[in-house]
């Protein structure tokens, strides 16, 4: 039973790693600030799923769910504030490109 659970966990973890790669690649390669948040969101989703799978295979779904609820709330706040900051940047620079943010250059 334990072995089967471990195999289930590794099976899910394989796909979660793929989503993590997609999110990380999005953050690293793009210059658009909106896409950076989208990449961050993908990373969070991958972690959320991994916590749920870990809770399922160890039989502690209640604890996993409570952690995920906390994670989702933090995620929403981060996204809302980041979207506000991006809007402010856009109104200052008329652009969403990170390469145009040079006003703090020393």
């Amino acid at each position: 039973m334990m072995g089967a659970n471990w195999q289930l966990f590794t099976g899910f973890a394989f796909f979660v790693i793929m989503v993590l790669i997609a999110g990380l690649y999005c953050i690293l390669v793009t210059r658009n600030l909106m896409r950076v948040i989208i990449g961050l969101e993908l990373l969070t989703k991958a972690v959320t799923l991994l916590i749920i799978v870990a809770g399922y295979v160890t039989g502690q779904t209640a604890l996993a769910q409570s952690l995920v609820i906390t994670l989702i709330i933090i995620e929403v706040v981060v996204i809302a504030v980041a979207a506000g900051v991006i809007l402010s940047i856009y109104r200052h620079n008329e652009s969403l490109a990170a390469s145009n943010l040079t006003s703090l250059k020393g």
């Binding site: 793929m18 997609a22 999005c26 793009t30 909106m34 039989g59 995920v68 979207a83």
Partner: protein
């Protein structure tokens, strides 16, 4: 792991890849919502209905609405900029599927121990009792984070009004 799980997980990876690789920001947001919806179904299947409901209502609904509102408040690109960015994007994003396939092949070829012992099962409680009794500090943290977020947004918009 059943066939349905594999189909759902594959769909999730495809949706995530499409989110990253598509050119339009709006389509990217829709892809993100789609990824979130698939994760919701997986959560339901993994016996976590409360987290699934949160994921569906907040991540699929609210965050998509925030993204779409932000995109609608910015100006679309001109035709010239779109053509220039499209060529640039193909060069930059072409590597992602290659990296995913390489890492996938490396993970499959990796020999993981098949009989790894998982931690012992503890007494399972109801999610509400865990959240309200065992994780009280989390609730306090959530309230602080929410207030900080609200305060941050108010400050951002207040500054603009002054100018």
């Amino acid at each position: 792991m059943t066939l349905i799980d594999i189909i759902l997980l594959t769909a999730m990876v495809v949706a995530a890849s499409w989110t990253v690789m598509t050119r339009s920001l709006l389509k990217s947001t829709i892809g993100l919502a789609f990824t979130s919806a698939i994760i919701t179904i997986i959560m339901f299947r993994l016996k976590s209905p409360l987290a699934a409901v949160f994921e569906l209502s907040v991540c699929t609904g609210l965050i998509t609405a925030v993204f779409v509102s932000t995109i609608s408040l910015t100006k679309p690109l001109t035709h010239k900029e779109i053509i220039k960015l499209s060529k640039d994007r193909v060069k930059r994003f072409w590597y992602m599927p290659v990296i995913m396939l390489t890492v996938g092949a490396a993970l499959i070829s990796l020999k993981l121990p098949g009989d790894f012992k998982m931690p012992l099962k503890l007494a399972e409680g109801d999610v509400r009792s865990v959240l309200w009794n065992s994780r009280q500090l989390d609730i306090f943290g959530q309230i602080v984070v929410l207030l900080a977020g609200v305060f941050g947004i108010v400050l951002l918009f207040k500054e603009r009004n002054k100018r």
